[in-house]
């Protein structure tokens, strides 16, 4: 037996890993920096520069000669023993994850200074780890690696939720998130082991080819088509575990409490960060791993039902909320339902618009929601104002916030000329093309229902008199709001380049 050539077997590619490496380096630097400076606020800028540097490096690694050539040929590189894959979805979602991290850091500045004076290091360190987890999660086609990334994000998230140690609500949020999350991870892991048991592989394309062989009646590794029910139950369990991450019905119950209890910048992160990574994972697991029609017809049905219930439930429950963070929790449940429609459409491989629409919407949703949470963060920082009634007369207290919030809500409802509209448009188109007109129609009706609760905030902001003084300056939140506001309008109106990128990315998934 010849000696194994480890370099060849592992096939390392550090260009692909560049963003992650920069993030790790930043995390270490932050830790050291904390020892030597007394002005802890500077930690923010170190973290932020690291994230932005990583964001730039995503562009470099995507345009690396070898990687770009492989992508152009339609055969994306699989490196590190096929643990990581360098395709369009990877780069796009990595960029989204880093944009999210940057905007969360930006809006957390004042909050951390006021409430987390002693925990600067912890906050940014954990935030970086969570981002790192997300990036690993989206760049893998191997179930083990995906699981590792997912757990890194999850554990970091549990800590973030409970980071206000003296606040019982934050503690409750952390504990609740942890217990439920651990349970969901267990389900996911169990489903994963069943899939592995039947197909004999953790590598998604290999899983796909063994399912194809099984469906064709061949016997693979001693397993015949009779094992299909085991595979299906594994699939359903994985679906359940991933549904927890995106807070979809019936695994959504943790979201309102966690969103309400966690500090606002953290909630901002939860509402878009782990979610967008989880959608990337869902696309990979289901479209790549189980895109074979015999499985696809099963999971599209399950996801379609889940999507329908999730959006109706999220929107109707949000109508009853008086706390704006809880309201946004239900809103984000509803939004997950919308994105799932895109996932369902992606199940129809002959149609092929679903994946692109999911990716586009993930970006659209992140840009919009982070803007909203920047305002919420400011309000919580300044006076602990988290009830909708605290937003009375906001247009007189800070007109920029009020008008920007209006634009963000318009984007979430899906009214042009915002990015949310174009996101919805692409999902509608994908759904109609894949034969799910009823889901598109339900989604359209749901976006009208959602006006009910967004409108309530707008009414309070514009049509009622303020009870408090004008807001103080908060550079971090204001910058985030302005960045979000400009991108919500510009990415919408100039959606063509972004759409081009996501379509190319989608075409690399089989």
């Amino acid at each position: 037996m010849p000696p194994i050539n480890w370099t060849q077997a592992v096939d390392p590619n550090y260009v692909l890993l560049l963003p992650e490496l920069i993030l790790v380096a930043t995390a270490l630097l932050v830790m050291v920096w904390d020892f030597y400076v007394s002005q802890k606020r500077s930690l923010v800028w170190v973290t932020l520069s690291g994230v932005i540097l990583a964001l730039i490096s995503v562009w470099f690694s995507a345009n690396d000669a070898k990687i770009a050539a492989a992508m152009a040929a339609g055969q994306p590189l699989e490196v590190f023993g096929k643990m990581l894959v360098a395709d369009g979805v990877t780069f796009f979602l990595k960029a989204v994850a880093l944009i999210i991290a940057a905007l969360v850091i930006l809006q957390s500045v004042e909050f951390v200074e006021k409430y987390l004076r002693g925990a600067y290091l912890e906050f940014y360190e954990v935030l970086l780890s969570a981002t790192l987890g997300m990036m690993i999660m989206v760049s893998s086609e191997n179930l083990v690696t995906i699981y590792v990334g997912l757990e890194l994000t999850s554990i970091a998230s549990y800590i973030l939720a409970g980071i206000l140690r003296k606040d019982p609500k934050s503690n409750e949020a952390g504990l609740k998130y942890f217990l439920n999350g651990a349970f969901a991870s267990g389900i996911l892991l169990f489903g994963l082991s069943l899939v592995y048991g039947v197909t004999g592989s953790m590598h998604l394309p290999a899983i796909a080819s063994s399912i194809k062989a099984l469906a064709a009646g061949q016997v693979v590794g001693g397993i015949s088509a009779a094992a299909m029910p085991v595979l299906v139950s594994g699939m359903v369990m994985m679906l359940g575990g991933l549904a927890f991450k995106i807070a979809a019905f019936p695994m959504h119950l943790w979201a309102p409490d966690v969103y309400e209890g966690a500090p606002s910048p953290v909630t901002a992160f939860f509402s878009v960060g782990p979610k967008s990574a989880a959608f990337g994972t869902i696309l990979r697991v289901f479209v790549v791993g189980m895109g074979v029609s015999v499985m696809a017809e099963k999971w599209t049905l399950v996801w379609a039902v889940v999507a329908a219930i999730t959006m109706v439930l999220g929107n109707t429950a949000a109508l009853l909320q008086t706390n704006i963070k809880r309201m946004m929790a239900y809103s984000s449940i509803a939004q997950a339902g919308y994105i799932l429609v895109g996932v369902v459409a992606a199940g129809n491989l002959s149609s092929g618009y679903g994946t692109a629409s999911v990716l586009f919407y993930a970006l659209a949703y992140a840009l919009t929601n982070l803007g909203i949470f920047a305002v919420i963060s400011h309000m919580e920082t300044e006076g602990g104002w988290t009830e909708v009634e605290h937003y009375k007369g906001l247009v007189f207290r800070n007109p920029v916030y009020a008008w920007a919030l209006m634009i963000f809500f318009v984007s979430l409802i899906g009214i042009p000329p915002t990015v949310g509209f174009f996101g919805k448009l692409f999902i509608f188109r994908a759904a109609a093309d894949a034969g799910y007109l009823w889901l598109a129609l339900l989604m359209a009706i749901n976006s009208v229902i959602s006006v009910g609760y967004y409108y309530n905030v707008v009414r309070v902001m514009f049509l009622e008199e303020p009870e408090q003084l004008p807001l103080q300056r908060n550079a971090g939140s204001m910058t985030t709001v302005l960045i979000s506001c400009v991108s919500v309008i510009m990415v919408g109106l100039l959606s063509s380049p972004v759409l081009n990128i996501v379509q190319q990315a989608a075409s690399m998934l089989p």
Binding site: I445, S447, L463
Partner: protein, 510 residues
């Protein structure tokens, strides 16, 4: 340079002014009023050379703008085939000019009437103008939809902030109705796009492809999805219930615009989108449309008679007049082209006449309200003795509204009724009953408000001002002019009317 992009100039000039005004401090009210005045007047000036050169302007023969003048086209979202395509035919151009005429008048009517949050008000008015003008010139469905929805938000705030006591309720009712209509419309349009596989959202090219589709469940769905979106705006019976509320609460200038131009978005969209795209379905359900139109004529007239609020009466009369258009459109979709074009021309002329008459009528009601602070018919009375000139103006406009020969309203209704008769026979007489009821309530209201002994609580009220004359005069002149000499309008409409009635007939199999 100007003529090549004339439509772009007309649409976006108000936007430029709105953006400039956002950076002017709100204490500079005089500057803001001037800017708003100029910003709304310029589009009117820009439209004059287009009107003057109408017959010498080249008519496009490109498939994406067949029969259109002043066309422009730029690629916008390549990936889904969306172009920035502008162009006008008779239907669009008459409405565009009407809109350009009404906005400066509305700004003038607001001067001195709107005293709070002047800056917000004017900026919203300008954005509203961008939306309405944009709808009339767009030849691409997505562009159309963007403008269509841009109309929604300014209108919500204009009613919700500057409206009457129940403004909040009226504003959200308007918003929800129209939003529900338009999202359903969007799904319908996307379905047609996917079904035909045309890869373009150009309205004319889509219509070429969709008018050949068979009449089945899904095309019927698409037709009604489109139609309901437009019917809410028109408003067609039974989707009209938002209108009286919105009008009663809206400030006078906003009412003028709402009745004068916003309702026409719906009627215009029917002749531009729903009927040309699916004439085969329109033909099948013409009786339904006819029934809705006739019911509106009679029911709204009767409802107007029962009102105690002067403004609500005028609001119901809008529903009644738009009923004539709906009825005539239904007739045109079953008749042969020679007969159908009479109905169509008459029906469309009704909308133009109504666009001149109803703003003037709402303005007259507003003049009384400003002086007496009531619209209650029981409290008004003897106005001929108190404010003779205003009363004369009101009597003039009331006669115009009830369809007195010699004024624009009569011409439209007469041609519409004559044109509808061949299609639906004596059923048309029901609309005749509506006309009698309309005449009756106008006479009753005039007796109530204008005649009788002078009331002493209104003694010493100031009569008409120069500003009011300036607003009223152009509308009054045009009403009489088109009443005795409708040819200029009918000639501009002729080509478009002929084309549409042929499209409706060819597919119908005549």
């Amino acid at each position: 340079m100007f003529m090549e992009h004339a439509l772009t100039w007309i649409v976006f000039t108000p936007l430029v002014f709105a953006l400039v005004m956002m950076f002017i401090p709100k204490t500079q009210e005089k500057v803001l009023w001037w800017l708003a005045g100029i910003g709304t007047l310029l589009p009117l000036l820009f439209s004059l050379p287009l009107a003057a050169g109408w017959y010498s302007a080249p008519v496009s023969t490109e498939p994406w703008a067949e029969g259109m003048r002043y066309v422009e086209r730029v690629l916008w979202i390549k990936e889904i085939g969306v172009h920035y395509t502008l162009g006008v035919d008779g239907f669009a151009f008459t409405m565009l000019v009407l809109s350009c005429l009404l906005f400066p008048l509305a700004i003038l009517a607001s001067y001195g009437y709107i005293k709070e949050r002047v800056k917000d008000y004017l900026v919203l008015m300008l954005i509203l103008m961008v939306g309405t003008n944009g709808v009339f010139v767009s030849l691409d469905f997505m562009l159309f939809y963007v403008f269509w929805e841009i109309v929604l938000l300014p209108m919500y705030f204009l009613i919700g902030i500057w409206g009457g006591p129940r403004r909040s309720y009226a504003a959200i009712k308007f918003f929800l109705y129209t939003l529900l209509g338009s999202v359903v419309m969007l799904v319908g349009a996307i379905y047609l796009y996917v079904r035909t596989g045309v890869q373009t959202f150009n309205m004319l090219q889509m219509a070429d492809a969709t008018s050949g589709l068979p009449v089945d469940g899904l095309t019927t769905f698409a037709f009604f999805a489109l139609l309901i979106g437009f019917a809410v705006k028109v408003p067609m019976f039974p989707f009209h219930t938002w209108l009286p509320d919105a009008h009663v609460e809206a400030p006078t200038p906003v009412s003028m615009l709402l009745a004068g131009i916003l309702l026409k978005l719906g009627s215009y969209a029917m002749v531009r989108i729903s009927h040309p795209m699916l004439p085969q379905v329109a033909r099948n359900y013409a009786w339904l449309l006819f029934a809705a139109g006739v019911t509106a004529v009679v029911y709204a007239a009767a409802a107007a008679m029962a009102q105690k609020d002067f403004k609500k009466q005028v609001a119901y009369s809008s529903v009644s007049h738009m009923g004539f258009f709906v009825m005539a459109l239904a007739a045109a979709s079953v008749l042969e082209p020679e007969l159908g074009q009479i109905a169509l021309a008459g029906g469309y002329f009704v909308t133009i006449a109504h666009g001149l008459i109803s703003p003037a009528f709402f303005f007259a009601v507003g003049m009384f309200y400003e002086r007496t602070h009531t619209r209650d018919l029981d409290k008004l009375g003897g106005m001929f003795l108190t404010v003779p000139v205003i009363s004369f103006m009101t009597a003039f406009i009331a006669f115009a509204n009830l369809g007195l020969p010699g004024m624009a309203g009569f011409i439209g209704e007469f041609i519409a009724l004559t044109g509808t008769y061949p299609a639906f026979g004596l059923w048309v007489l029901i609309a005749g009953v509506g006309m009698v009821l309309t005449a009756a309530w106008h006479l009753l209201t005039m007796r109530n408000v204008l005649l009788g002994p002078a009331k002493k609580e209104y003694a010493g009220l100031a009569d008409v001002t120069w500003k009011e004359k300036l607003i009223f005069a152009p509308l009054a002149v045009l009403i009489v002019l088109f009443g005795v000499w409708p040819a200029p309008v009918l000639n501009i409409l002729a080509q478009s009317v002929e084309t549409l009635s042929q499209v409706l007939a060819i597919v119908g199999g005549n």
